[in-house]
Symmetry: C2
């Protein structure tokens, strides 16, 4: 069971989160690297035991190529900076790619205990077993929009140049750095759109499937047809016109 594996890894990540702090800077940064690598190891070990013939791609280790058309894609901590800053908005993200298509996506926040799931087979998206769907928001003035930046001024300026009509006119814009959870928050109808120029395959693949099967729409950041292997994403509830 993939969910059992994620709950197991989540227990470890939760413990690391609560124990961080009151340490020297060096210890703190070591802790993060240790958590990233530790969670990754737990997942790789579990996946190898359950799916010995599949390939695996993970953020730190890279590709474990078993010459299979089936590949697990792992992001051990999606939202590492949140984890370090003490913001419980991070997740373990896992997706299955078969012949280049994502067929299964799992996103789990162990602190809030929110487990999102979707599969091509069900064609639906779920939060802790309940079906979820996107919001009906179709006016920019009423919309909640997430932008994928931290306090890096050159990136922020680039976002503003391109998305000024959204920055200036949406109901509220927020900088959020965890693509997996943010895509899921559109999928469940909490927010309406998300723009990220740099998020990676590991960070976005699972959340993208979950959003699509909840009624959302996706594009690559260059406006091309959505491909989870391309860096960056434009994601909406399918109702909001983000492109002018």
């Amino acid at each position: 069971m993939i969910s059992a594996l994620l709950y197991q890894a989540g227990e470890i990540l939760k413990k690391d989160f609560y124990e961080s702090g009151s340490s020297t800077s060096k210890e703190r940064f070591d802790l993060v690297t240790a958590s990233d690598i530790n969670i990754e190891e737990v997942l790789i070990r579990g996946l190898k035991a359950q799916y010995p013939d599949y390939s695996i791609f993970s953020e730190e280790r890279g590709e474990i190529d078993n010459k299979s058309e089936k590949k697990w894609i792992i992001d051990p901590i999606d939202g590492t900076a949140d984890f370090v800053f003490g913001v419980p908005y991070f997740s373990i993200s896992l997706s299955l790619e078969i012949n280049g298509e994502i067929t299964e996506g799992h996103v789990y926040n162990p602190i809030s205990n929110e487990y999102y799931f979707s599969s091509a087979e069900t064609g639906k998206a779920f939060l802790n077993g309940e079906v979820i769907k996107v919001s009906g928001t179709c006016a920019v003035e009423e919309s909640l929009i997430a932008f994928g930046f931290s306090a890096n001024y050159p990136y922020i300026s680039d976002y503003y140049k391109r998305w000024r009509h959204l920055f200036d006119n949406c109901k509220k814009g927020m900088p959020l750095i965890s693509p997996a959870l943010t895509l899921c928050n559109i999928a469940r109808g909490r927010i309406d759109a998300y723009l990220d120029s740099r998020c990676s395959m590991e960070g976005q693949a699972a959340g993208a499937l979950i959003l699509q099967n909840a009624g959302g729409k996706l594009l690559n950041y260059d406006l091309g047809k959505y491909d989870h292997r391309a860096a960056g994403i434009i994601a909406t509830n399918g109702n909001l016109p983000v492109l002018l």
Copy 2:
């Protein structure tokens, strides 16, 4: 017991958080207002029962003046935008002011179950009953710094103009909008500094006492002696030179 009151209010807030989403935009925004007001009512009712002679200041209701030198200051949801966006980085913040001085501070995140507390009497700061202290980070290059902005470009530009040496040189800068929890994250040593030009008395008073009693330092945003009634804050671990 103040803590029992906060745990009670926290259960309500937690329920509201998990139930949000998959609703229309209108319902969603109503929910937030309802949560803010509902939590405030629970706290005011509880405080009036336990401290009938004290004054109360709260974000939505304003001042309930009992001509007392003792006043409870309430922020029912510190980090409302996080709450709405589905980011479990928000708290209930409560502080006691006696003759203009903060003598007690409580900050509680009901999702992560992190309860921060300090009092003038103990002279210490606590997380879930354990003493906490600030980090030893003293080099900007090693520091984790939070800035109090959302995706509002004019504010971001103002921050960048003033704090460019931090934006460009710190180890990682993050935009975080919940002053109470962010001050507590400095207090426990997870992060090293926080700069916010606009945070209010309700948002900062409890966290500021907690940080001071964990070894941190505070200034008003205009560089004056720290006063919790002035909007804005400059907060550090006491070791990091944020001012050039």
